[in-house]
Symmetry: C2
Subunit: 336 residues, 2 copies
Amino acid sequence: MSEVRRDIVTDTWVIIDTENDSIPKTKAQQAPEKDGCAFCEGQESRTPNEIYAIRDGTAANGPGWKVRVIPNIKPILRIEGTLAKTGVGVYDMVSGVGANEVIVETPQHLIRFSELPDEQIRLVLNTYRMRIDDLHKDKRLRYVLIYKNHGTLAGASTVNHVHSDLIALPATPVRVKQKLSGAREYYGYKERCLFCDLMFQEIEMGDRLIFQSDKFVVIAPYASRFPFEVLILPKRHMYSYKLIDEDEVFDLSQVLKKVIGIMHEVLEDPPYNLILNDSPNLLPKTSYWKTIKQDFHWHIEIMPRIYRTTGFELGTGFYINHYAPEKAAGVLRSHL
Amino acid sequence: MSEVRRDIVTDTWVIIDTENDSIPKTKAQQAPEKDGCAFCEGQESRTPNEIYAIRDGTAANGPGWKVRVIPNIKPILRIEGTLAKTGVGVYDMVSGVGANEVIVETPQHLIRFSELPDEQIRLVLNTYRMRIDDLHKDKRLRYVLIYKNHGTLAGASTVNHVHSDLIALPATPVRVKQKLSGAREYYGYKERCLFCDLMFQEIEMGDRLIFQSDKFVVIAPYASRFPFEVLILPKRHMYSYKLIDEDEVFDLSQVLKKVIGIMHEVLEDPPYNLILNDSPNLLPKTSYWKTIKQDFHWHIEIMPRIYRTTGFELGTGFYINHYAPEKAAGVLRSHL
């Protein structure tokens, strides 16, 4: 049998196959390694000039860094230029103003995020905060998305060296708008944060709870779009990742390492995407700026890309998930 | 440079890389061939009983058919049962009522749709119409989606024998709602069909026009989500595929064979999805039933799955397309 479940945040539906018991597996494939990786320490001259780096007094664009942020060498959006809207017949177009950065997460040529030492993950998480904070100063930018693609099936590019991608956009993405609107509607009705309520319910029910730390809760979402999808929520209500404190960064570094580690173990190194779902840049001219601090609650999604989406997903915007989140949570819990 | 283009129908955005000139290629991979295919003529006893077939007087569930429709052997939704909505804490769930059928498009073990004779494609297109018409009689079903997955990267399953999938849903999909709402808004403002206007504009501008036949127009959409995405629109305004006439079926069979054939030639057998975008089941209790006949215009989308979607697409609902539709149209035109 199957259940058609509604994602309460985005108001979309997922068909969950509740009968299947076989754990789907697909190993993450990496791009072929080329001669020398431009993201490794000592190769700094092969990348564009760094935007930000964690360094111990060493000079920019040379060795001696711990985390390094550089512009994407083939940026899909550029920071230069004015934001111009143009009509093309019945169509609308905006010039490609934005930012496209790469966060290189270690000077060593490692491929898996879960192989980084805790301390290194903390530096990465602090870098995320710094970059969001900095880019939000540019009022043309409506949204900053930080994400990871591990394995070619998750859309990883030609560089295997562990890194995150950052894209800052001149428009609020449709999926973010769906989430904001779901959260606002719920708050309007209940006067409580949807994500806080959802977190307390999952802790109480327990069947989709994977684990909790002092500061975070890790669950398999009720309407998971992908098998073994994971949602990480901070226990403290915070509308933006910018508000994360040092204790939470410390805790989150351990949580991330643990959850990606057990996913790696259970699914045998699956391709996956990690997405930092932050609130948009809070600009007074946007419709949500007054209520967002109470309605929204930042979170991280991790989505193994074991199944390929089909014409069904493209045609409907709905998803089919062949492995129930309750079973996924059980399997992941048993590997803690 | 890139352009951020708005999809006027769905109100979503696509970032188009307008600089890249290299044509992306990925060959469609098939599942390993197993001993004997259950979809081939003579193997009827290995499938569930047929729902519909085009036969010349031969008995059901034996050989002697031209097109055969069977239930999916592992249906994700089933026609039996009552449509029950249940609450699970803050969540909503609907029982998995619907239909999940397979349209086997030829008795021979062919793998590519464009290898079917014209006459066979006509029978397939008539079968699509019959199945939609029949399933719309069930008032629990809100939407019938027919689609094709070619190649494992497009989500093709383990059977390579050329077929289409059909899923009938108890809810109108979010992507269909977006299209209906974009079309209705445009009609409300202009008192003209959005798709008719878009088609006339593309014929006039010409740079995204691939070709036109007597009854259909084939274009590379302005905000294509995927490189070499193709949109096929009937010239006659029809809200539903159910209204297609015999002349249009004849014309469409040639158009489909031609466009998939040149796509195969230019991109060297790419994985792709084909989606028949029809209107929902017209039920008086739905909000759109009164206006849909004037607003909506059925169409077919074909999407090569050469690039894998990344965390960007999953996190935003926006797409990045590395090959401009104007260039794609030019390349496809040059192979006509």
